[in-house]
C-alpha cells in the first residue's frame, strides 16, 4: 500500500484497501495486530476529544497499517457514544490532522485528493483554479475576510487559491464528509465486544463536557450579552412583542448559554401577548424537543432579518452573538482578575 494513505484514511483508496485486506472488524478483535489497532483507535478518539490527533508512524509499514485500520474502529467508538458534539469534535480533529499533512504534499497529490471530494480544480503552476461554486461551498463559512469572494480574483467563474488555501478548503470538505457519515449503525454484539474500551473514552468525553460547561458558561452574566440580545430583552421588558425571527434568536441564544427552559419562559412573561403554554412549546422546540437543537443565528443572519442593533467594539471582532458573549465574559474575567491582583498589591 502507498503508506501516504494512512494519513488520509477517509479516502476511497484507503477504505478500499481496508476492505480488500480481508480483515473484518470482528477478526481484529483478537490477536496482536488487532489489539494494537484497537489501542490506537481508542487513543485516536481520546486525542480528538482533547483537540488534536497526532500521527507518527514514520516509514514503518506495520505502524502505518495499524494507523489505517484504527480509523474504522475509531468511527465505531464515536458511534457507540453517538453524541452529536463528540461527532463534531471528532470530525474536526480528523480533518485538522489531515490538513497538517496536506500542507506538505505536492500540488498534484492534492489535486487528486480534491477530485475524490468532487472539488474540481486546474493546476496553475503551484496554485489551484476552482469553480466559484465549489469555492463558496466551503469558503462561505470562513471568518477571515480574505476568504470573501469579493476579495479574491474571480476570473471566468474561477477563483485562484494557493496550495495552502486549497489544503484548508479540503480540510472543510473532509470534516463535512466525516461528520455527515456518522454515527454508524453498530450491532449490539460489536458494541458489547468493545464495551471494555468504551469506559475510558466516555470518561474523557464527560471530562471535556464538564470542562466545556464550566469553562464556557458557568453562570449566566447578562452584563456580557451582546447589544442585539440586550435590545430584545429591553423590548420585552417594555411590554412589546418581538417578531418571530427575534424570538427565535433570543431563545436559542439564551438556551445556548445554558439557561433552562423555565428560566427562558420567565423572560417572556413580560411580553404583551404572553401565553405560557405556547411559549413553553416554542422554547422547548428550539431547545431540542423535536430532535434538533438550534444554535443562535450568526451576526450575518441577524442583520439580514433586521435584528442587529447597536454595534459595540467587540462586534467588530466577532461574527456571532455567542462569540461576543464568550469574548466579553473573558475580558470581564480578566478585569476582575487584574483588579483583584492590584488590590492585593502592597
Amino acid at each position: 500500500m502507498d503508506i501516504a494513505y494512512a494519513y488520509y484514511p477517509f479516502t476511497l483508496r484507503a477504505s478500499d484497501y481496508v476492505k480488500r485486506s480481508g480483515r473484518s472488524i470482528e477478526s481484529l478483535l483478537d490477536g496482536e495486530f488487532g489489539k494494537a489497532v484497537v489501542r490506537r483507535a481508542k487513543e485516536r478518539v481520546i486525542q480528538a476529544i482533547k483537540g488534536e490527533i497526532k500521527k507518527a508512524f514514520g516509514a514503518d509499514d506495520i505502524l502505518a497499517q495499524v494507523e489505517l485500520f484504527s480509523y474504522p474502529f475509531a468511527r465505531i467508538f464515536v458511534s457507540c457514544i453517538g453524541n452529536y458534539y463528540l461527532i463534531r469534535r471528532y470530525a474536526l480533529a480528523e480533518a485538522k490532522a489531515a490538513y497538517v499533512h496536506m500542507r506538505g504534499e505536492e500540488p498534484r497529490f492534492l489535486e487528486k485528493l480534491g477530485r475524490e471530494f468532487n472539488v474540481q480544480c486546474a493546476l496553475e503552476r503551484r496554485d489551484f483554479r476552482i469553480h466559484f461554486a465549489d469555492y463558496l461551498k466551503f469558503a462561505s463559512g470562513m471568518h477571515d475576510p480574505k476568504w470573501k469572494l469579493v476579495n479574491r480574483c474571480l476570473e471566468d467563474g474561477c477563483v485562484l487559491v494557493t496550495k495552502e488555501e486549497f489544503a484548508r478548503l479540503l480540510q472543510e470538505t473532509i470534516r463535512d464528509r466525516i461528520q455527515s457519515s456518522l454515527p454508524l449503525d453498530v450491532s449490539p454484539s460489536l458494541k458489547k465486544a468493545l464495551s471494555p474500551h468504551m469506559a475510558e473514552i466516555s470518561e474523557h468525553f464527560e471530562e471535556m463536557r464538564a470542562e466545556f460547561r464550566s469553562d464556557e458558561f458557568e453562570e449566566v452574566d447578562s452584563e456580557c450579552f451582546p447589544p442585539c440580545i440586550r435590545h430584545m430583552l429591553a423590548l420585552i421588558q417594555a411590554g412589546q412583542n418581538l417578531p418571530h425571527s427575534a424570538r427565535f434568536a433570543l431563545t436559542s441564544f439564551l438556551a445556548n448559554i445554558g439557561m433552562s427552559a423555565e428560566e427562558i419562559i420567565d423572560v417572556y412573561r413580560a411580553s404583551a401577548d404572553f401565553d405560557e403554554e405556547k411559549t413553553e412549546y416554542q422554547v422547548k422546540h428550539i431547545m431540542g424537543s423535536s430532535g434538533t437543537v438550534y444554535t443562535a443565528p450568526s451576526c450575518a443572519t441577524m442583520a439580514t432579518y433586521g435584528n442587529c442593533f447597536g454595534k459595540e467594539q467587540i462586534c467588530e471582532w466577532v461574527s456571532h452573538p455567542l462569540s461576543f458573549y464568550r469574548k466579553k465574559l473573558y475580558y470581564s474575567g480578566e478585569e476582575d482578575r487584574s483588579s483583584a491582583e492590584s488590590s492585593n498589591a502592597p
Binding site: 461554486a133 463558496l136 462561505s140 469572494l149
Partner: protein
Amino acid sequence: MNERTKEFIQDRFREYYQSASIRLPPRFEQREWGFIFFDESYPDIVMRRHKSFMTAWEAIDYIRSMVPAHAFHSAAYYMYPGAPTMKEKGWRGADLIFDLDADHLQIKWTTYGDMLQRTKEETLKLIDFLRADFALAEDDIEIVFSGGRGYHIHVREPRMIELESPERREIVDYLTGLTLEMDRIFGEKIVGGDFGHAKVVRIPSQESKGWGGRINSWIVSFLLDVGRKDEDEAIKILKSFEGIGDERALEILKMAKNKSHLASVRKGNLSASRRIPVSFWRELVKRAIADVGAKPDEPVTADVKRLIRLPTSLHGGSGFRVTPLTLGELETFDPLSDAIVFGDDMIRVNVTKASDVEIKDERHVIKKGKQDLPEHLAIFLMCRGMAEYEP
C-alpha cells in the same frame, strides 16, 4: 378599490389570460405556487401559498379560471411542493434570483420612465458581472421586467441551484463590493533606487479581470471626463475631493489631459505625478467601488424559499405584463409601451388622484373627476388605486 372596479379589472385580466400564452417555469411541477386574488380583502394582500400543479394543463387552467391579481412561483424546487410546512416540502435546490428594484436601489428619479431607465442600467451592470466574472452563459440567465419598479434575474445553471443561503449572500457581497478590502486594490510601496526613495501607488491594470479592471476603467473614464470639461467646472469637481485645492486640482487636470499619463494609469501606475496626493487616488478608488457595484436586494437573493412573480403573468398593481426578455431585447425594452397588453378603447373612470403619466409614448396630465380614458391608461390608474371604474 370598489367591487365594481375589481370586477372590471378581473374581467380584463381574464381576457388577457384566455388568449395569452402563459409560460411555465422549468420543472414547474416541483415548485410551490402562490396567488393573490381579487377577493373581498383585495387590495389588502392575502397570499394563498402551498399550491402545486402536476401538469401544465392543470396550472394554466387554474390561472385562466381563477384569474389572480398576482401570480408567483417558488424559486425553490421541492419533493412535495404542496406540503403545508417548509420542513415537509423537502427542499431540493433553488434558482438563483436577483431583484433590482427602484425602491431598494434608492434611485433618485423624476418620472416613472426615468426610474425604469435607471433600474435597467443597474440590471445591465449586474448581468455584466454574471457573464464576465461568474462566466454564466446567456442561456443560463433569464431577465424579467417585474411589472412594477424593476427587473428580476433568474439563474438556472445547475451548480447555482445547489447553493445555500450563505453562498448566495457571498455572491451578493461580491456584486455590491461593500466588503471589498481596499488593500486588495490599492497598493502603496516604497521603492528605493539610485536617486533615493519614491512611493509607488498601484491599482490593477485595465486588462485585469473582475473588480480590478472595472475600477481601473472607471478611474480612466472619470479622468477623461474631467479633462473634457471646461476648466472652471473641472476644477470645481476636483476640489470636491478632500485635500485638493486650486493648485493640486490644476495638477490633476494637467494629468487628465496628458495621454501618456493616462496610459500609465491604464496600466495601473498611479505615480505619474508626484504632486497628486495618495489620498486623492484612494478617494477615487472608493468612488469607483460605490459606482461600479451592482446592488440587488440582498434578502431576496439569500432567501432560498422565496416566491417570485410568474413571467408572462400580469402585475395587479400596475396591469403591466411581467415580461421575460433576452439580453438583446432588454437593451431596447421600454416597459411603458412594451409591457402594456391592454388596448385603446375609451373607458369611463372617476379619477381620485391627479397625476402625470407617460405611457405608450404619450404624456397624460390627468385631473381628478369623471372622464373617458384609453383602456390601458384606465387600467393602470385603477390598479394603482388612483381611479375607480364608472360605467
